[in-house]
Symmetry: C2
Subunit: 159 residues, 2 copies
DNA sequence: TTAATAATGATAATCATTATCATTTAATTT
DNA sequence: AAATTAAATGATAATGATTATCATTATTAA
């Protein structure tokens, strides 16, 4: 997985200071597939950066999100999770999510993205005009019951 | 606005006890268009039910959501908001949301619902099969900058 | 009316996130 | 390389949202 064209000249340029902890946080996301909450990032970091503070993690997640490097999600469990933006890293493809309301599992899917993109593009154009709203991103979430919970009952029930 | 067929025989039947506060909370949603957070519901209730507790509000929002009467959203401001489910009340139409990342405003839109529903139906079928995931609902969120924030700058900036 | 128990209100506790502030550090300038 | 400057950090207090606890009350069905 390589950086997209424009990584150093584009995204990196927007970052005012390339700190040790900021690099480390971004490294975590490069290594991990999927979504991480602030405390999950914090736990993974403590191994190599035992002095890092949780506030620094929160600050940088927010910062990197504002810079367009991380996408931010709230799947319904009262905490934010983040993943690398598809705009930032080559290999992250546009995708959406299936969220199990029983166990909290989140599944990425990339099916129907072509059809979806066509429709979304059209919608964005019309909605922008109608509501004077400048659309920057979209999220499509499907809520339901995952395969495991379907058979197994609620042994892993969330909440 | 009248209840959908099946209100008394359907939704009401699933509710174990039809309490004063539970009725009052549902009444708030019937009167208000749009999304309400727990504390917003609580504030509106205090007028007529000065003894109601905030915990009761939280419990009932969760309860009514689990019963399919309220839809639950997390638009990215770290708190849940609710609205009447389209399945529950006649007059609530299927819609999605534009969320301003600057001021937090949420706009309902009902445009493109026909086209969207066609695609979503197809996707749900395929995703259900592929992932063994029983889909119950979906949410489509557009994030961006609203009209007011576009012109006015960040005078009402959120967070 | 009584019995069973779901629901409530008060409030403590928890969890996620943000604010404060003195200190450190990255980047820029001399 | 040393000095400068402001962004960033870590510790931790504070806040905001939500959940847990528990004794009491109210709803429902018998
Ligand atoms: Mn994802
Ligand atoms: Mn809505
Ligand atoms: Zn599940
Ligand atoms: Zn706005």
């Amino acid at each position: 997985m390589r950086y997209r064209r424009g990584f150093r000249g584009g995204f990196l340029k927007r970052i005012s200071r390339w700190t040790k902890s900021r690099m480390a946080i971004l490294d975590v996301f490069r290594r991990v597939k999927g979504h991480l909450s602030a405390d999950e990032v914090f736990l993974r970091l403590r191994k190599n950066y035992p002095n890092i503070g949780i506030a620094t993690v929160y600050r940088n997640l927010d910062y990197l999100h504002k810079k367009g490097i991380l996408s931010r999600f709230q799947f319904g469990n009262n905490k934010a999770s983040y993943e690398l933006s598809e705009k930032f890293l080559k290999g992250v493809q546009h995708h959406h999510h299936l969220i199990c309301t029983n166990c909290g599992k989140v599944i990425d899917y990339t099916d129907f993205i072509k059809e979806e993109t066509d429709l979304i593009r059209e919608m964005e154009k019309a909605l922008s005009k109608k509501y004077g709203f400048k659309i920057q991103s979209h999220q499509l979430h499907f809520y339901g019951i995952c395969k495991d919970c379907m058979k197994g009952g609620d042994q892993n029930a969330v909440g």
